[in-house]
Subunit: 334 residues, 2 copies
């Protein structure tokens, strides 16, 4: 195994210069840097990065906390974060918190407190009404935030996008619009429910409890919630689902119960995961800018880590309204 | 911020004992360990783990190399790896190599060589015919291996599972069976193609080039490949797709071209991703044991890192044959 001395000899510079080139390259002339780099390649030297990072008190590592990495919305944001992190010389530690288990999150918070990571990107939406789970001393950015997120965040306007979707259903003549929500204390579910209610209120339609079913963002829960609607004496003519997975599950139930989508019941999703355009019928949904969310969250976190000022504490990105085949005019029922 | 001295004072032991408790707890009496632990909690001390790991020459971090984290098969294996790693006190660095880009893989290999990580779990299948990309000096285990994987690996019998699937289609009376493969140099595609050919040969059916379409494991490619079959003078009565995504894409094309699935054409998948049971019709497929693959790969990697002997270099896990609605008897065509 070659040493730093071998590199210095090969490069014709001092050991101190090689060391400086590795720890503070900005303090070394470009000519010396080039010599050192060539020598490192030639002698096959692997600097002990762990030792180097120890000296610089940076781990060049960030943690991504995700409630469920198998959810395609999150895995797309993570891919974008990883891509940007790599461009910036950072590695990404994956913290799957299994739907936000507090103990698991705390283990990752400790990694930052103990300097094994420099900061956190939190994908679980978190409202300040729920209290803090991540201490102020830990650099943290929310990449899929909600209204009243504590700390810096990137998000879309979940309430506004949901209102637009329900407005659209109302414009198609729907008056009984069911909603399949996420768990009711989930901040995304809270924001999207607010949009649903605003739209109904604006159109003068009543909010009816029997038209609300609580899911948990999984396909399985969408499947079950749709059964609840099928069993009503007067089923809804449209269902607003708070994510695409629940819409996909709901469509399966509706078909199995003899309802045609959209002729008998329209169904809408949220997120525009890759399967949204491949299910039958293809889903009308809201596309979230996952690529941009990941990239901007990483850039924002680096500014927090480096104690640079943020242009704004919160960035609200545009979402896209996508009309496909799962929605149509309201059916007139006897 | 409290220091190691505060901990020692609180615990009533020497600084050296606290230090030993942190770096080599096995050398400290249980009574002293308990005192130190209590004191750490009380004074709120965060040991500088980076420094500690530097001393122990372990990073307690592994890298997972994945061709595409948004592929649900891979994200399920990763969730299981992360779960097991956390139980064992290890963190998981995510290396999305964008379908195996060599340069990106090498950056992560260097992390192990420079001791920022202790080993690698490789999710991209790799056959030794392709040469090595990861040096022998780097601890590495393959979690979704293929035949002739170089190095320790966990895998299913891709060839045997594919042969079973095609045997099943033949038993339903199908004689013209199309195949939508992955990229033809992908080791999973090679193994699964071998199973397809074995099944045809055993049944005395010819291997016909016009019945082979090369996809790349994405839904989009499945959609395109199915068009190729629809345009044949004599289309196949069944299509064996090498993963579920391509099957989902193919079904969309078939429906749009007026073919009923399975009445006109049967379609089969591979992997059993969560969407397989929610698409219409639900997919007949091969379930891979993602949970077990991730867990076993992590355990195997820890043995390699710790230089412990492996019971076997390769573990071939059972897969599950799942018959759903996308397959049926061959249609007799004029």
């Amino acid at each position: 195994m070659s040493s730093i001395r071998d590199v210095a000899r090969e490069a014709g510079v001092s050991v101190a210069t090689v060391s400086r080139a590795l720890s503070s390259p900005e303090k070394v002339s470009p000519a010396s840097l080039a010599k050192v780099q060539t020598a490192i390649d030639k002698v096959g030297y692997s600097p002990n990065m762990l030792a180097r990072n120890f000296r610089s008190a940076r781990s060049y590592t960030i943690v991504v906390l995700v409630p469920d990495i198998t959810n395609p919305f999150y895995s797309q944001v993570i891919r974008s974060i990883e891509d940007r992190a790599q461009q910036k010389g950072y590695a990404v530690l994956l913290g799957d918190t299994r739907r936000g288990e507090a103990e698991r999150e705390q283990e990752y918070v400790r990694r930052v407190e103990t300097r094994l990571a420099d900061g956190i990107i939190q994908l679980r939406p978190h409202s300040e009404k729920q209290g803090h789970t991540i201490p102020n001393s830990v650099a943290c950015v929310h990449a899929a935030g909600c209204e009243l997120t504590y700390g810096p965040s990137i998000r879309i306007d979940n309430r506004g996008a949901s209102k637009n979707m329900v407005d659209y259903l109302i414009s198609l003549g729907h008056k009984r619009i069911g909603v399949i929500s996420g768990l009711k204390d989930n901040p995304h579910a809270i924001d999207r429910m607010a949009g649903y209610k605003e739209s109904l209120a604006e159109a003068g339609l009543p909010f009816e409890k029997e038209l609300v079913a609580e899911g948990d963002f999984t396909m399985w829960s969408g499947l079950n919630c749709a059964h609840q609607f099928c069993n009503l004496a007067n089923p809804p003519t449209a269902i607003f689902c708070m994510n695409d997975e629940m819409a996909i599950g709901a469509i399966q139930t509706l078909k199995s119960q003899g309802f045609r989508v959209p002729e008998d019941i329209s169904v809408t999703g949220f997120d525009d995961i890759p399967y949204a355009r491949y299910c039958d019928p293809a889903l009308t949904t809201i596309a979230q800018p996952t690529e941009e969310m990941g990239k901007m969250a990483m850039d924002m976190l680096l500014r927090v880590i480096n104690s640079e000022p943020l242009a704004q504490r919160e960035s609200v990105l545009p979402s896209e309204f996508i009309i496909r085949k799962s929605t149509g005019p309201a059916k007139q029922r006897g």
